[in-house]
Amino acid sequence: MAIHIIDRRLNPGGKSLENRQRFLRRAKSLVQGAVKKTSQERDIKDVLEGGEVTIPLDGMHEPRFRREGGTRDMVLPGNKKFIEGDYLQRQGQGSAKDSGPGEGDSEDAFRFVLSRDEFVDLFLDDLELPDLAKRKIAQTESEGIQRAGYTTSGSPANISVSRTVKLALARRIALKRPSKDEIDELEAEIAACTDEDERAELIARLEKLKAKTKRIPFIDPLDIRYRRYEKVPRPVAQAVMFCLMDVSGSMSEHMKDLAKRFYMLLYVFLKRRYKHVEIVFIRHTDRAEEVDEQTFFYGPASGGTLVSSALQAMHEIVRERFNPADWNIYAAQASDGDNSYSDGELTGMLLTEKILPVCQFFAYLEVGEAGGSAFDLSDSSLWTLYERLRNSGAPLSMRKVSERSEIFPVFHDLFQRRETAQEKAAP
């Protein structure tokens, strides 16, 4: 008897992947809730590491007809002292025997591990990038090719055999081209025929059929069809993210931390949509400079505050390195709201004329001290300025944040999928 021994270890894994995706899709709202809850307890850095989530099994329950209660009989092993007719005390409701270890893994809650990608997907699922579609169509550099029906001319490599044969068949039927069977049949008839006259007649018919076969070709140049391709614009798949931050003396560590968290979320979010994301860090006091990440968050700096310097710097960098035709540009500005009064006009002008037209999205995040004092005070000079700009129609997103726990809700709020692109007023 032949025995087959097969090594399956090298078979592609992930056979259950599709079932898993279906399960996640089905449990989406539950898992999403769990993900949000989990992520609140974590640092933003760890948020994206994936990990274990717990969902209530209620929605995922697979019901069956189950019987319960009633009179029960059971045979057990290990009798030590009982004799027939003894009575055992019931150990209240749900005694040890009632819930044997076999039913121990009760499925009230269901724990399982999400991969990093799954986690991020669910975490950011109901968010979307504003104006993504518009730019996609308007600004494209690369072109792709896609199928677009059939054509009567083209290169031989593109001949569509099935279409060609189909048309040829249709034409042959329409023109009543004699089939091979028909001719064979007739030939057989001639071979079997004994009567001279009839035979001559049959031969004449055969000649006619053959002539017709010749006249109507099996495949005519008319039948030939080629697959047609057309070029389609492909969306630009790269983005640059500008992080602008005021690092003047009035910005505390807490405020910087808030800003950092926001930038991180934005980065992850962009990373998910674009193959290639660049980050430019611009910090400013009364003058702006492009710095690396470390310096951006932790480098010491002091001085006054001129927001326009940062905008100017950004504008120059865009002009030099990031052609808006090729790049999706996102910018997020964090500040405590201070700005020198004289700078207001310049800032507004730069923003509306230079920055906003090339940006996909511009968010202004006003960070405050812990305790929410920022909200009690009257609006800062920058906030007032931006609010005025926005009211006059500039596509600005702005929010105030003073607590770590507000970062995600604010972020969520900014990128929430909306019916209209209109920004709602900040709280």
């Binding site: 008897m1 894994g13 079932n19 399960f23 009179t71 045979v75 057990l76 005390q89």
Partner: protein, 512 residues
Amino acid sequence: MTERLFEGADWDFRTLQRITDACEEVALKDLGLDVYPNQIEVITAEQMLDAYSSVGMPLFYKHWSFGKHFAYHEASYRKGLMGLAYEIVINSSPCISYLMEENTATMQTLVIAHAAFGHNHFFKNNYLFKQWTDAEGILDYLDFAKNYVMQCEERYGRVEVERTLDAAHALMSHGIDRYPGKKKLDLREEEKRAGRRRQHEEEVFNDLWRTVPKGASKTRSAISLERRRKLLGLPQENLLYFLEKSAPRLAPWQRELLRIVRHIAQYFYPQSQTKVMNEGTATYVHYRIMTKLHQQGRISDGNFLEFLGSHTNVVFQPEFDDPRYSGFNPYALGFAVMQDIERIVTNPEDEDREWFPDIAGKGDVMGVLRDVWANYRDESFIGQFLSPKLMRHFRMFHLHDDPEERQGIRVDAIHDERGFRRVRRELARQHDVGFIDANIEVVDVDLSGDRRLILHHHVIKGSQLNETDAKRVLQHLADLWTYDVALIEVDANDKVLREYVVSPRPIPAAVA
């Protein structure tokens, strides 16, 4: 002295081949087993988890619930809460056994002897498997099912297909024909015809093909009420079969999905009835083969001790007051009875002659065992072959728990002269699926009126349905039936204990 099959724990594919050949020699010559051709596949832990989540089958249609089980198993496996089985074996021809790559050479030998010969013989020879399963066809059928579900999803949308499958899964335990009978013959005929069509479809895949069950048109045609009821085959305990044939507004593809789920449930039905026997057989076979190989000097003493260690773990039976206790271990019980039969056949005592006159001292151990393996299921096997000696060995006792009884749980019988038969009968009953599953059947359809489907649950020993689950399952049932469904729980005296009525959800039924 014969050459050793392997040394130490390492193995390669040549070792596996040698092991299999050696096991086969013992299995066929010494034990006289009759097996399907074997196919042995080595898999990784992840693949084992995959197999777990699709009820052990190598291919299966896609459904979210399998993803759920996979996630669940994976989480508990990663945390170390759960070990994986050493093997999975599939009742098919060729008989496929999956071996884990982590197993040592000794474990591979054990597993090959256990699965590829023990289970394999049982699958091929037991009457239940012969009667209900088609080992040659199952893999092809699963392949067909998988593709069919996929086609349906493309055509009718994933949501629709999922809803039908959800409902079918909920009713799966009631999609089984339990008794071959008159209406079974009808079904056979139907099955043959559908089988031919399906085969045809598999060959020349044509998506236009659909079953067109006769039932649907019958419910609509104007034949007499009595005749209709008769044609519907009522009462009917196979709910899925009934829906497939008679639900008025199901699309043909939905009927086919119900049919697929039903066939798969039916395929697994013998396994649930023969757990003790199946495992007992396989354990007995691996024990005999391993011992023989050791006697022949083909397995070293060290490896044999390793085997005995695993074997002892497998057949360990904790006592009822042990925290590890979770019911009778089918391996332990099955193996003990098999060994006991061996003892009775070769070396009986007076008691055994009295209890087992047919086999006591007969001498031909394998002959008797092969006959037992072929012709019994758990319930009849225990009812017939559990000896007083074993009951004493396990110190079995029978508890009767009547909630009405204020005094507590009564010890009804113990392992003594007065109690042997009662203990045995109760243990046998405990392994009878007829007693385990709720007895639910379709009794009537109000055809002339509102088409309400009426089901009865015959309550045994006061054990009623779990209300939440029952409502959910009935909801699924109503969605398929598309009219109201009533479930009435009645006791032995036809007294109504509880009544459920569920209306279909207002989702537009997919009518083709």
